[in-house]
C-alpha cells in the first residue's frame, strides 16, 4: 500500500513537473514571439517614416494576393502575413520578422514570370517559417564576418546557412501553392548572370548548387505565369512619361 502510494506520488510529481515545464515553455515561446513582434513593429515604423511605400495600387494588390495564396500553403506562423510594396525599381525583397515582408516594385520587372515573383516571396516567408527572427540579433552570436547591406532604416545581415535553409523551404512553399519550384533556380541563375549589382549573397554559387541538388528529380510542373503578372510587368516596363 505504502509503495503504491509513493509510486502515485512520484507519478504525480513527475506529471506536475512536466506540466510546469510545458507551461514555462509555452510562456517562453509566447514571450519570444512577442519580442519578435515588437522588434518588427519598431523596424516597420522606421521604414514607414523614411521609405516611400505603396499602400495601394496594382502592384501592391497583386503582391498581397500572391502572398495570401502562398501564405495558405506556407504552414502555421504566429503572425499574420503582411506584404508591403516599396516604390523602388531595384529588385529587392526582405523580411523583418513578425510576418512582415517588404517587396520592391522592381521585383515585377526583374522577374520573368509569376512563379519567380512567388519564389522571392516564398524565400522571405521561409525565413519567417524557419524562425530566423525569433531571437534578438544580439543574442544569436552574430557573425561579424557575415555580409551586411545597409538600407538606412534597416540593416540586412546575411547568414549564408540561413539563406540556404530559406531557399530549400521556399521550394516546398512554392510547390504546395501550385507553382513550379524550378522557378527559384531560374531566378537565382539570372541574379548571378544578369544582375551585376546584386548583393553578394544573391551571387553565392553555393545557393545555386543547393537549389540544383534540392530540385534533382523534382518534375518540372506547376504554374509558371499569369495574365495578371504579364500585364503588370508590361505596364511597369513602359516609360513613366
Amino acid at each position: 500500500m505504502i509503495a503504491a502510494a509513493r509510486a502515485r506520488a512520484r507519478l504525480g510529481a513527475f506529471c506536475a513537473a512536466g506540466l510546469l515545464a510545458l507551461i514555462l515553455g509555452l510562456i517562453g515561446t509566447a514571450c519570444a514571439d512577442d519580442a519578435e513582434a515588437r522588434r518588427a513593429r519598431t523596424t516597420a515604423n522606421r521604414i514607414e517614416a523614411t521609405w516611400p511605400l505603396a499602400g495601394s495600387g496594382p502592384i501592391a494588390t497583386y503582391v498581397r494576393k500572391l502572398g495570401a495564396r502562398l501564405g495558405e500553403k506556407a504552414g502555421p506562423t504566429p503572425y499574420p502575413w503582411r506584404f508591403v510594396v516599396v516604390r523602388d525599381r531595384a529588385a529587392n525583397a526582405f523580411a523583418i520578422g513578425g510576418g512582415r515582408i517588404y517587396v520592391n516594385e522592381g521585383v515585377v520587372t526583374f522577374c520573368e514570370n509569376e512563379a519567380e515573383v512567388a519564389a522571392i516571396l516564398a524565400h522571405e516567408m521561409a525565413h519567417q517559417r524557419a524562425g530566423h527572427f525569433r531571437a534578438a540579433p544580439a543574442s544569436t552570436g552574430r557573425d561579424e564576418a557575415n555580409p551586411r547591406i545597409d538600407l538606412g532604416a534597416v540593416t540586412q545581415e546575411i547568414d549564408p546557412a540561413k539563406e540556404l535553409e530559406a531557399d530549400r523551404l521556399a521550394l516546398t512553399i512554392l510547390a504546395n501553392a501550385g507553382y513550379d519550384p524550378h522557378a527559384a533556380l531560374s531566378l537565382a541563375l539570372r541574379q548571378q548572370t544578369r544582375d551585376a549589382g546584386a548583393a553578394p549573397h544573391l551571387q553565392d554559387p553555393s545557393r545555386i548548387d543547393s537549389l540544383r541538388a534540392a530540385l534533382a528529380g523534382v518534375p518540372v510542373q506547376g504554374q509558371l505565369d499569369s495574365e495578371t503578372f504579364r500585364a503588370l510587368r508590361q505596364k511597369q516596363l513602359q516609360p513613366v512619361s
Binding site: 522588434r39 519598431t42 523596424t43 515604423n45 522606421r46 517614416a49 523614411t50 521609405w51 516611400p52 516604390r87 523602388d88 525599381r89 531595384a90 529587392n92 525583397a93 526582405f94 523580411a95 523583418i96 520578422g97 522592381g106 522571392i120 524565400h123 522571405e124 525565413h127 530566423h132 527572427f133 540579433p137 544569436t140 552574430r142 557575415n146 551586411r148 547591406i149 545597409d150 538600407l151 538606412g152 532604416a153 534597416v154 540593416t155 540586412q156 545581415e157 546575411i158 547568414d159 540561413k162 539563406e163 548583393a199 549573397h201 544573391l202 513613366v240 512619361s241
Partner: protein, 208 residues
C-alpha cells in the same frame, strides 16, 4: 533574398510641417527657381506678383500671352523650390539613417486653392525628403505632375529635373486652369523620383 536585421536607434518621428507659407520666406542659397512660361494673362499677373514678393535672385522666365484654352496646352507657369530641412533635421525628424542607396519620400502634397474657376491659377505644393548615402553632395531629382478627371488623364506636365542635396525640400508649381475646363473634381498626382526610388502622392481640387 535577405536575412535578419539589426535594429537601429529610433528617433521619434514628428509630423512634417509645411514651411512654405509664402514665397517671401524662401532662402536665396538653395537654388530656387521661378519659371513662368506659355501661360495666360492670369499667369503673367501671378508670376509678377510672386516675383515681387519672392527672392530677388529668383529668375523669371517667360511671360503670359493669351488664355489657356485646353488641357493639352497647359504647362507649368511657375516653379519654385527651396530646402526646408537640413540632412541633420531630416535625421532628427524622421529617424533617417544614411544608407547605400538614394531614397525619396513625399511628406505632403497639396493643391490650392481647393476650388477654382476656369482661367484661375492652381498651385501644387510638395514637401519631400531626399535621402542619400553619406558624403553625397547632390542627386538628380525629377518632379512631375499628372492631372486626371473621372479616372482619365487630362494633362501631364513636363518633368523637371533638379540637383538636390540630401535634405528636406519644398517645391511649388502652378498651372492655369484652361478657360474651357469642365467643372468637377480633378486629381493631381505628384511624382518625385531619384535613382531607383520614387514616391507619388495625390491631391485634389475642384473646378467650379
Amino acid at each position: 533574398m535577405s536575412m535578419s536585421r539589426t535594429p537601429r536607434s529610433v528617433v521619434a518621428a514628428v509630423t512634417a510641417s509645411l514651411l512654405l507659407a509664402s514665397c517671401s520666406g524662401m532662402s536665396s542659397d538653395t537654388g530656387n527657381q521661378l519659371l513662368g512660361a506659355l501661360g495666360g494673362a492670369a499667369a503673367g499677373a501671378g508670376i509678377g506678383a510672386l516675383a515681387t514678393k519672392g527672392d530677388p535672385k529668383a529668375a523669371l522666365i517667360g511671360a503670359a500671352a493669351g488664355a489657356v484654352v485646353g488641357w493639352g496646352t497647359v504647362k507649368l507657369i511657375q516653379y519654385y523650390s527651396q530646402k526646408t530641412r537640413t540632412e541633420e533635421e531630416e535625421a532628427k525628424t524622421f529617424g533617417y539613417q544614411p544608407a547605400e542607396g538614394t531614397i525619396v519620400k513625399i511628406r505632403n502634397a497639396s493643391a490650392s486653392p481647393a476650388q477654382v474657376t476656369p482661367g484661375q491659377k492652381v498651385t501644387f505644393d510638395t514637401d519631400y525628403s531626399v535621402l542619400a548615402p553619406s558624403g553625397t553632395s547632390s542627386v538628380a531629382v525629377q518632379e512631375s505632375w499628372e492631372l486626371s478627371k473621372d479616372g482619365a488623364v487630362v494633362a501631364k506636365m513636363p518633368p523637371r529635373t533638379e540637383q538636390r542635396e540630401p535634405a528636406g525640400w519644398q517645391s511649388r508649381a502652378s498651372i492655369d486652369i484652361p478657360s474651357n475646363a469642365t467643372t468637377g473634381t480633378y486629381v493631381v498626382k505628384t511624382r518625385v523620383e531619384a535613382g531607383t526610388s520614387y514616391d507619388e502622392r495625390l491631391a485634389t481640387f475642384i473646378v467650379q
